[in-house]
Each structure stands twice: as C-alpha cells, then as structure tokens.
Symmetry: C2
Subunit: 311 residues, 2 copies
Amino acid sequence: MKKVTAFAPATVANVSCGFDILGFAIDDLGDKVTVELKEQEGLTVKQIEGDGGKLPLEADKNTCTVAIKAMLDALGIQKGIAVSLEKGLPLGSGMGSSAASAAAALVAANELLGKPFEKNDLVPFAMEAERMACGAAHADNVAPSILGGFVLIRGYDPLDVVKLPVPKGLYCTLIHPHLELKTADSRSVLRQQISLKASTVQSGNIAGLIAGLYESDYGLISRSLKDVIAEPSRALLIPGFYELREAVMEVGALGSGISGSGPTIFILAQGKETALKAGHESKKVFEKIGLEVDVYVSEVNDRGSYISDNQ
Amino acid sequence: MKKVTAFAPATVANVSCGFDILGFAIDDLGDKVTVELKEQEGLTVKQIEGDGGKLPLEADKNTCTVAIKAMLDALGIQKGIAVSLEKGLPLGSGMGSSAASAAAALVAANELLGKPFEKNDLVPFAMEAERMACGAAHADNVAPSILGGFVLIRGYDPLDVVKLPVPKGLYCTLIHPHLELKTADSRSVLRQQISLKASTVQSGNIAGLIAGLYESDYGLISRSLKDVIAEPSRALLIPGFYELREAVMEVGALGSGISGSGPTIFILAQGKETALKAGHESKKVFEKIGLEVDVYVSEVNDRGSYISDNQ
C-alpha cells in the first residue's frame, strides 16, 4: 500500500516581544511521521520511536492521529491510516515537540490523500492536536512548523496567519538545559494584569521586530528582541538565563529569549560563526552552574514541513 | 537677509493598535513657517497667522522657537532668527498641530543654516517643543511630520525611529468634529493596568499592521486596524464614534480610529473614491447628532516637511 513520510521541524514560539503571536522554524531538528493506507477504516498508531515510551499509542491521545482526524473530518471522509512516528525532538522542552509531530502527520497524510489541502489550510487541523496535547489550540508552533520561517498569528477570531520574510543568514542557537519545567508552572507565573507602559513598550518592540525582518535590518532586530511581559516572570524559573544573555551578547548575538514556555533558550545571531560561538559560551555558563545542556545550531528554516519519502 | 519657508503636514498619531508608537502624515493640510536671519542674536516670533490669537509670541513658549533653540544648542551656536508662523491646522484637534509648527520651523531653520542636519536628526529637537507644549517629549507626531509616511517609534531609550513603507493609493479621511476635548481628559480616561490578553491582542494587531504596510496587503491592514487598549475608553468622549465606524466600513473603508488624543477621527481607505465616500458618510453621522465637522481627504503623505520657498 501507498506510504508517505514527512519531516516537520522544531519551532520557537513566544519569540521574545512576540509572546503568544510569533514563532519560527529550525532546520534539521524535528520529527518524522510515516503514514500508510490500511485496509480497515480508522486511525492507528503503529509505532513510536525516540520518545522513551512516553507518548500514547491511543489514536485519540496522539497528536499525529488527532490532527489527521481533524483533517478527515473537514473532508467528511473516513480512511484507514496507520501512523509511525520517529521523534527527533525532546518532549516538553519548549521546542514545539507536539506541534512537529502533528505537522509532519498532516503534511504526510495530505500527500497520501492526493493533496486536497494547501499547506496553509493544514494549520487549523494541527491546532486541534495542540488543543488535545496542551489544553489550548494555539498556532504559534504548528504554523511555523508547517509553513517554515517566521510566522505571525495576528489573531484567532478568525485565524489569521501571516508568513514573514527571513533575513538571509539568520541563525538560531537552541540551548536545552536538562531541567524539567512544567508548562503549567510557566503559565502560572505570568502576571494577568500588566501596565499600559509595559504593553506599549512590547508593541513598539514587536513592531520593530517585524520591520527588521522585512528590512533585513539586524540592528533593528536586535534592539527589538526584548520581552518586558512574560520573560521577567519566566526567566526566574531558568537558572543561568541572564548570565547566558550577557555571555552571548558579548560574542555578538542579536538577542536571546525563552523558547515556548521553556526551559529551552533560543539565541538569534547573524551568521553561523556567531551562532556557534553563542552556543559555546552558553555551554560554559551552564557548566558553571552544574547543568547539562544540549546545543543545536541551525539556520532559521524557511521551508517548514516537507515530504522526505514517498513510495 | 536670507529667508526660508517650510511646510510641515498634519499627522495622525496613536494609529489604532499603534497607540503611542505609530504615526503617519497627511498631504496638503499643515503649517508653514518662515525663518529669516536677523542682525541681533536671539530667537523671536515675528508674527502668527491663523491661530485666532491663541498661540504665544514669547520665544520660550512657542513650539517653533523652542525647537529651533534645541537645534542651535546642539550645534553650540547662537543666531539671530525671526520666525513667522502661518497655521493651517486647527489647535488641539488631534492632528498634530504643535508638531507641525515645530517640524516646519526646524526644516526651514536647518536650510537657513546650510543643512547641518539630516531630516532624521531633527526629530529630537522637535520633541523638545512637544515637551514644552504637551508636557511629554513624544515623537509620534513630530517624526511623521518631518519624515512623512508611516513612522514607528520603536522606543525612546534610545530614540529609535523607523520609517515604514506606504502602500500606493492609501488614503486618509480626517473628520474633525467641532468639539473641545482636552488632552488631559483623554489621558485621564486611559486605564493604567490592562489584561495580558488585551496586550497580546494589541501586539498581534500592530505586528499585522506593520506586515500589511510592507506587503501592501489591504486586507491585512484592515483586519489589524483595531485598538483594544486606548479606544474603548477614549471613544466614549467622542459622540458618534462607533456610528461613524459602522457607516464608513459599510462603504469599504479599511478602518477608523481616534487621531492622536482626539476629537479628530481618522479613516483609512484604499483609493480616493472610498475615502471621499467615507467622508460623506461621516458627515451624515455627525449631522444627525447635531455636530458640525470638517472633512479632509488626502493621500498618506510620504514626503513629510519640505522647503516651499527659499530666497
């Protein structure tokens, strides 16, 4: 029977001043999902690799199958599809792990079914998987994982997804400290009331960041990469956060922030060399405080999810 | 003696979701300032026309001379300069009246002195005039009045002014109801604490608006032109505000909002015809509630202040 494999990249959401509205995709690092038609109707999870046995095999609890189900529902059809998931992303790290699985599953299943949808149209289906996995149908990981590049979620009512340009040579360094941080804790520390002043500063910075991306103005991007709303509370949950920032700015990074709801930290840099240096310096910071980290360096991915095998 | 005249346009600040950070300039409507060298050192206001006798002639209280003084201080020189101001803008209307006077004075004086500064450099001097006139050195009127087009004030520390592109055919209709509204009142109704949710919505909208300007995406501009922070409080001070919005959206406008701190309302539209229709419909709304209005229709001005006479 026909069999399609798709790859979907890791993503950084809550990009600093783009809290809750902006995400971007990473190269190379991500999840692979293979879908194959099967005789019997219904969705099944055939196997999962690389998750340490932590992810559910039940079709109504797995992000891959929940996403595909939303797609089939929209088409008003039933199909027999078996899903195999190869996790390349650590779970609960703030790198958009659940989103990548859903994105890869959708892109693969869409191909399997003869491309009834454009990539853009897949976003709402992936959001259903996020609703199941995280309790909120947010789009700031799934949209960049599917579409690639920087993606703005202007609003949800109705869903308004805007793909933004990626300046050439923009690199991201991800620092994943081996540290458990529950999304619920990251959520609970957020202040629900903020000052008008802080909101205005945040608006200025997100506006500057968007303009910087369009202009490929690295100076403006750097000056704009400041989050005065979520970061001041959340950074306290991540030891070494501010020491890392100081160290990477010293070697020429554009800025740093919490990826998603952490504990992963993203660093943006112009050029691979600076991104590598930033990774090196970050590792030293965490060594000092006795925390192991994984370091990933990648260009910002403008491609998003893609078919990696089609038999 | 040498004599230079400059024109500076009216401006719309607090552009909807761009509260406190975004402004744009209007064509045709504005102030004219003539500066001439005089033998005796010091700045004087020679005459003011069109203000109904309301503006001060004292050099330390007039925005033209205060702005020029800031420029001379930066150059570390003293000069004898006489200023004549021809007001084309109504005072206290929310169209950047004080800003236009300062902008025209600076552009004229800069020319008179042999252009020691680029236009960009004049913004901080005009901000000093705003500090004197309004109590706050805000830049969201003076920067677009000098530079033209849409101008983002990313931040003030340090001052970060970003000129944005203007989509071809973007028109503005200004509705100036004959209604006194004190800036202090407009300020006092603003809530100083806002919800995280509102702040996030505002961020999404300003990000969408900036992207829309770069993409000349009128749909995105329209969907983004929403202010959930200042407008809900301030609109209550302007009778007919929401009726006007309904009427102009019906004839195809992109959006509407309070210009500056009001009472003027701005409407953005694609093409002159829609802008004229919006003006017509607005007039009808205010006629119903018995308020006279002035209506101005103009393309968004990408030119800013300019020398109109140089002898």
